[in-house]
């Protein structure tokens, strides 16, 4: 391979986060659903897929079921928050993230709590096992391309235009005879589905998961990506993922002691976010204002 083992690792993470960020943008940027529960879908997908695969389920089936299971939670989240708007919706969906986190931590019989789940098998598809990281990179690139392609088709289709119309003015859309409640469910379920898929890809790559991988800091990271890239821009989310996941890794070459590395990275994220909000309030490629 032409790229180093370390770069391979970073690229794998970038492709996983692209699916995660684009799927959040589908709900947040395109449909206008202020959803702070996205990280929970990611966690649900990761745990579902890991547990099913450990029980012996073939990888592709486990991955799809992980997506579907996350999507069921997407449905439930919309049902539970149906009447909420704005800040209240943000609080309720953030609460959902906390609830799922504490379930992962406390349902010990299933999730092993804080001890996490080790030994998650590498994906094996039609008898071919993805063993090396180079192979995983190709695999994850493939899934990422398919996922982004599907989401791209959705947002560019007439259905996608309805999502944007719902974000801009739901009342006007209903007066045109469109069921905006149905739209909200569909958008959130698609968004959750792909978050679940990316959770699965993450779990089977790292082969060990514990609840801390699906906590609020993770949520802030993907929100930062979506805002920096721009609401309602798939291209923006892709570019921003690459920048935000890759750039801090350059820090590693600076030979900082590991105790300051984490904080410096967080500070860098914050700096990027603040710089973007000051210089380009709509993000790099965004067309829609933040509310």
């Amino acid at each position: 391979m032409i790229i180093s083992a370390y770069q391979t690792h970073i690229f794998i993470l970038i492709f996983i986060y692209i699916i995660l960020a684009v799927s959040l943008n589908l709900a947040l940027g395109y449909t206008g659903l202020l959803n702070l529960g996205h990280v929970a879908f990611y966690g649900i997908g990761a745990y579902t897929s890991a547990l099913l695969a450990i029980e012996g389920m073939p990888y592709l089936a486990a991955m799809i079921i992980a997506g579907l299971f996350a999507s069921v939670f997407g449905y439930l989240l919309v049902t539970a928050t149906d009447r909420l708007k704005g800040d209240y919706l943000a609080m309720a969906t953030l609460g959902f993230s906390f609830v799922v986190y504490s379930l992962l931590l406390n349902l010990r019989e299933i999730t092993r709590g804080a001890m996490g789940i080790p030994g998650i098998p590498k994906p094996s598809i039609l008898g071919l096992t993805v063993r090396t990281n180079d192979q995983y990179l190709i695999f994850v690139l493939l899934i990422c391309a398919i996922s982004v392609f599907i989401m791209y088709r959705i947002v560019k289709s007439p259905f996608g235009k309805l999502l944007e119309a719902n974000r801009d003015n739901a009342v006007c859309l209903r007066v045109l005879g469109k069921n905006t409640f149905g739209l909200k469910y569909k958008a959130m379920m698609i968004s959750a589905f792909f978050a679940g898929i990316s959770g699965s890809l993450y779990a089977h790559y790292i082969t060990f998961i514990d609840p801390t991988s699906f906590y609020i800091s993770e949520l802030i990271l993907i929100l930062t990506i979506v805002i920096v890239g721009g609401l309602a821009s798939i291209k923006g989310s892709i570019v921003a993922t690459a920048v935000i996941i890759y750039v801090p890794e350059i820090l590693r070459t600076l030979d900082l002691p590991s105790s300051v590395l984490g904080p410096v990275r967080q500070a860098l994220y914050a700096a990027i976010l603040i710089a973007i909000l000051m210089l380009r309030p709509r993000g790099i490629f965004g067309k829609v204002d933040l509310e």
């Binding site: 007439p158 235009k161 309805l162 801009d168 009342v171 006007c172 045109l176």
Partner: protein, 251 residues
Amino acid sequence: MILSCKDIYKSFGGIKAIDGCSFTVAEKKITGIIGPNGSGKTTMFNVISKLIKPDSGTIEFKGQDVTGLKDYELAKMGVSRTFQDVKLFQNLTIREHLQIAMSDTDEKLLSNIFRGKEGDAQKIKEVMELVGLDKPLDTYGNDLSYGQRKLLDLAIAIAKPHTLLMLDEPVAGVNPRLRDSIKDILRELNSRGESILLIEHDMNFVMDLVDHIFVMDAGKVIAEGAPEEIQNNPCVLEAYLGGSEEGTKCL
């Protein structure tokens, strides 16, 4: 009778916005609603189109009780409306507005993903010409002037499949030349068999356009009739001059 509202009541806190309002709209006619500011005209529109739930009263559309329907269900049955404070999609283009209005398949997710259908370009062009909106179809809702947004709002209401067209002050803020052309549009639509219900303050606009007028004051209908009758009705003049108690007596 295409639409009939019976004994509608609606209060906002202490304000009785609609206070026992009843009226009917005849099929294939143009019906006007006039009345002073704050007399409840827009609120009645919102009640009819289900954006607001009335405290009591019933609404029938095409002989069917639609009181319990949701806003989008009634819209699907064929009610189109415009807004006094124009509501559009800021980040969608004119073309996309009209495509949404015309499409009846865009809510189907799966059939959409792999063969998203383009809207009918010919039909879009026709509606644009009909309302006289002379702007590139790629212009965003955000980038239109007030008058242009008013026209686009009218265009999408017309483009949406409907049998009843409800217009809330269609010519407010629209220049005089365009007023006359909108009048012509409405006559044209009416001659094609559409029923139209419109709210309007501009008497010149209303009087020679509509077949029947309801006059609202303080949340109820205080007079109705052909335009000539209304023009000479003392109660109506009273209501417009502010003597609303006198007006109520005329009932």
